[in-house]
Every structure is written in C-alpha cells, then in structure tokens.
Symmetry: C2
Subunit: 342 residues, 2 copies
C-alpha cells in the first residue's frame, strides 16, 4: 500500500453519488471525517461539479485534489452487472478501481447495493479460498448484544462450503471489530436438533462441527433476536427475506399505532407516549449508528450503506472501514482461511 507516499494511515474512496441524498450527505460526512480524523485521507468519487456545488451550498471546504471525478452515475434501479459493464466511468466502478489499484484501502458506498457488490467482486476480487462474498446484517438482541446474520443477499443458492466460509469470516469480524472473544456460531434451521433441517443444513453441519469455530449447532428463526448466537449463517436467499421481513415489522408497527392514534384525541396522546417510549426502548435498532455493513470475502475493504444513509451513518461507515484497515482484517481473513486449506 502507498501509506509511505501519501503520508496518511489510511485512504478511503467514498462514493459521492451513492445514496438517496447524494452528493449532499456524502459531502457533509466526508468533511466531518476529514476534520475529525486527520490521519485518514478521503477521496470523494463522483461528478466534480455536483460535489463542488454541494460543498458551496453547505458552506463547507474540502481539498480539491481529493475529489476524483467520475462522470457517470449508477442509479438504484439499474441492473448491477449491466451497469458496471457499461458505465466504466461511474463512481462505483472508479471507486472499486481505486482499491484494486491500491490507491485506496477501502471503498465506501450507499449506492446500488448490487452494483457495489458486483464491482467489488469483479474488480477488486475475492480473497483466496472464498467461493462467495457475504453481506452480514446486524440484528439487535434482547440481551443487548448484536447478532450478525450471514448472508443476507450477496448471493442465493449458497452451498455448504459457502456457509462454512461465512462462519469463518463472520467469526473473525465479530472478534476483531465487535470485540467478542469467542463468537458463538449458529446454523439457521427449523429445529435445534441435528436431525432438523434441509440438505444444505445437514451438509454444513458436518463442516462446522469439524472446524475450530465456536459452533453451537442449529438455531431457529426465533434465535436471531434472543442473543443465543453472535453469528448465524444461512443461505443468502433466506437471510435476505428475514432482513426485509424484519425491517417491515417496524413499518407495520408504526402503521398500526398511527391507525390507533387516528381514533380520537385520547388515543393520539397515548400514541405519542408509545412513540417516545419505543424510540428509547428500540434505540439499538437505529441503523444510522451502525453505519453500513462490510462485504466480507473481498480482497479489499468494501462497506455498503443503506440508500437513505444520513451524514452520521456515512461517517460511521468511514470509521468502520478505517478500523478494518488498521487491524489488517483482510490479511487475518486470508490467514485463517488458509488453515482450512481453502
């Protein structure tokens, strides 16, 4: 890496055109991170003119040499593989190129998730021994801990060895980033007993049992939120459905409380109390605090954020990338995977 050349500990390429409020939120986050962490060099990747406008509009200043122009934008609705092939000068492709070319240590984006995944996988490439990269979703639990579910949609039709790789990568991430000494790994199934499951579960059980991971056996749908496991592995199809279902529960709840509030003045007052209490009681569920999630298995750092990411969420994504770089996480992944002859 080029740390000696730049004089910075860490260089992060930030997709300025990514989120729903781009480039505004990205620009604000970049300036804040730039001021707070002088050891980090941030490269704002996107349409230079729009970035400069956003800086002016928000009365902010940012070194012009750290703006990397990229004229094209991949929108949220574009087909990822097509978009990254046809829009070579998009912020997502240019950002991934910066990591591949070792100009940046990490790529951070709140843009089209599929495109960021595709660009990371195809341009930066996978770590040796990784069949498929994985995205983890962090669920709050009743014990106050976090349960990370892998994979939540980087791929579908995961094979047993992919689940095993998710468990290895997830365990290292939980230990090194979330500070969990000996992370408990559960395998998502329809019952706790070993004989409950589908073909994928039975084959993955074998690999997990023979590993040196802290494998606790099958876990069920109800165990995602109860703190039984620190990491739960499953097929990306299943994980994606749980993630989206889980997000919708809050929407559903809010809708029901709103209907209740509309049934009279007293109800309105009570609903206000409910809103306030839930805001405090469910504060762990605010994804803005977590920032984005890493795409694990890539031979470089990629952090993917929610389209509606706030400046705070984006700043936290930058911090996450910084931490991953500082502890040399990719090397740790590679070392551990090589032990399994992957």
């Amino acid at each position: 890496m080029n740390d000696e050349i730049t004089g910075f500990q860490c260089t992060i390429a930030l997709d300025a055109m990514g989120g729903d409020f781009a480039p505004r939120n990205e620009v604000i986050a970049a300036v804040e991170a730039f001021n707070e962490f002088p050891e980090v060099r941030i490269l704002l990747v996107g349409r230079e003119k729009e970035i400069l406008n956003a800086l002016t509009e928000n009365n902010l200043s940012f070194p012009k040499e750290n703006i990397i122009n990229a004229d094209e934008v991949i929108t949220m609705s574009e087909v990822p593989t097509v978009a990254i092939r046809t829009k070579k000068n998009s912020s997502i492709v240019v950002g991934a190129n910066l990591v591949r070319d070792k100009v940046a240590h990490a790529f951070v984006s709140a843009g089209n998730t599929g495109a960021v995944m595709a660009a990371s996988t195809l341009i930066i490439g996978r770590i040796k021994g990784v069949g498929r990269p994985a995205i983890g979703a962090e669920f709050p639990t009743s014990t106050g801990a976090v349960c990370s579910l892998y994979d939540v949609g980087a791929s579908v039709d995961s094979k047993p060895n992919h689940l095993f790789e998710y468990a290895i990568l997830g365990s290292i991430y939980a230990r090194e980033i979330n500070g969990i000494a000996n992370p408990k790994v559960g395998l998502l199934s329809v019952g706790e007993e070993d004989n409950k499951g589908n073909e994928l579960v039975f084959a993955a059980q074998k690999l997990l049992k023979e590993s040196n991971l802290n494998y606790i056996g099958n876990v069920e749908g109800r165990d995602v939120l109860n703190g039984k496991a620190d990491i739960i592995v499953c097929d990306g199809y299943v994980g994606n459905i749980i993630l989206k279902f889980g997000e919708s529960v809050l929407t559903f709840l809010k809708g029901k409380i709103k209907s209740y509030a509309n049934e009279g003045f007293l109800n309105k007052l009570k609903a206000l109390v409910v809103k306030n209490v839930l805001k405090v009681a469910l504060k762990d569920m605010d994804y803005q605090t977590h920032g984005g999630v890493p795409l694990l298995g890539i031979n470089g750092i990629t952090i993917i954020g929610h389209g509606s990411s706030s400046p705070l969420a984006i700043k936290n994504m930058i911090l996450k990338a910084k931490k991953m770089h500082e502890i040399n996480l990719i090397q740790k992944f590679e070392d551990e995977l090589s032990k399994y002859g992957n």
Copy 2:
C-alpha cells in the same frame, strides 16, 4: 360418511391430550362447542379417566359415549415418526384413525405438531395430486387483511411443483374460508423482478405463470405484512424460519419495553400506556382468535393448534373444521387439482 347413521351434520375428533394444558382446555372447549352447536358431534379422544376428572373438576358434563379412550400420550418432545409408529394407542394416532375410518370428518389437535402431521399424512393420506401437505401461517397485514404463508414447516426442500400445489390449495382455502374472491398469489423471493430469485423460484415462476391462479409475481420479505398478496408461497424451511422469527419480534419488543419500565417510576407508567395501546393496536395478532391452522393436502380435515391454545382457541379450531366440512373443501381441492392433471 356416516351422517345418516349419527344424525349429526359433522363429527369432529378432538385430541384431548394435545396442548400444554390438556385435557383441561380441550374438555372446556368440547363442552362449550357441544352446547353451542348441537349439529356437531364431538369425540373427545384421550385417557378416559383424565377426561372424566377434568369434567368433574370444572363442573362440566359431556356425553360419556363421545369419549374415545386412548391410553397413550405423545409428548411435545417426542420424534414424530417414531412416536406414531410405537404409540398406536395414542390420542393422535387414534384420532387420525377415526378420520381414516370415516367415523369422524375432522381431527383437531393442539399436540405435537410433527406427530399430527405425520399421523395425518401416513394414516389419513394425501389428496390425489398432492406431493406434500402444507401448513399455512396467517399473518396480519397493515391493510387489515390476512396474508397466508405456505408452507411454514410441513416439509423442507420443497420442489417447484410443491410450491405450485401450495398456491392452488391456498387459493381455494382463501376463497372458500376467508372469503377472498380472487386471492392474489405471490412467490417469495429476494426482489420483485422475475430475474431475482434462486433456482426454486425460477422453476416455480414458470408453473405459476401458466396457471389460472391470480399470480402477481415475486414478492419480498417486506411484503408479508403489507397486504400486497393474500397468499405467499415458499419452501417450508424458509416459511418456518419467518414464522418463528416473526413470533420472536413480539417477545423481543416486550422485553425491551420491560427493560425501559425498570428504569424508574415514570418509565413504568409510560410502559403501561404502551402495553395497553399495543394490546389494542395489535389485536389482529392474537392467534387465539384465529384458532389453529389446517394441514392442507390431506385427504381429510386436520387442524393443528398451538400448544398453549386456550379453550377459546380450541373452540375456534373446532369451528374451522366444521366450516371446512360444511363446504366440502377437500372435494373442492381434489376437483381443482385434477384440472392440472396432477
């Protein structure tokens, strides 16, 4: 059927040893149903002595000739297939035999779900053209409607034609029992577009598109609760995980509100308001009102209830079985399936 012989419109075998509070809740439900619906004959299946004791303890009377003695009990923790093979005189096996032998039109149980499924499948048998029976879970939606998810655990590793059968059976059930004229059928996937999905989804899409069902295409995890579809079909492994995850969200929420309440007197008061509001706002989620769910695809009526079913829930299960019998639902299933040359 023996309607002419018994003089009753409908005969229902009720597993008296099924739920967590058996035989108490079952006996209370049976007596209530017996008094309210004189056209229905209820057979209480289980240990005669315990049933008679429960009647005495609750000051209830029930015709002794309607108690069918079955000495053995299959507990919740037993392995279903082993249990129904070794406990031939259990209430579950005897209850299923009554339907097979056309003594009863329906079997209702809040006992070991796996054992009820296995007994129904192996003893009563499947409808011609059904590869695998399915259990549906009814989710409340933000529009006030109900969304039924098939399958939630009758089997795993469902094949495309099984998903297709779930859609056929579920559509008829939604129309005939829930009164939805032209039920919308969604296929659970990781994106709305046809090209988003796994191998199972792509193969099932083809069958659903060619059918005369009201197929609306792929739906996502977030669509279970938003009323987009009346029926959503998926692999039993996935459905089971969503169902259990969904149930756990309420437990998680209650835990968080409890923790909040413990942080001072004012919090306690506010939490009380929350509890009351949620009780009203989420009243649709009380499964006691729904009663149990049918095991669809069986050549007879089987209703499976939650282990903790109250007398009201069990009475509603009896009512559901009665309705299914009255409209000749099994015959309707058979007729529709035969159109597809199944």
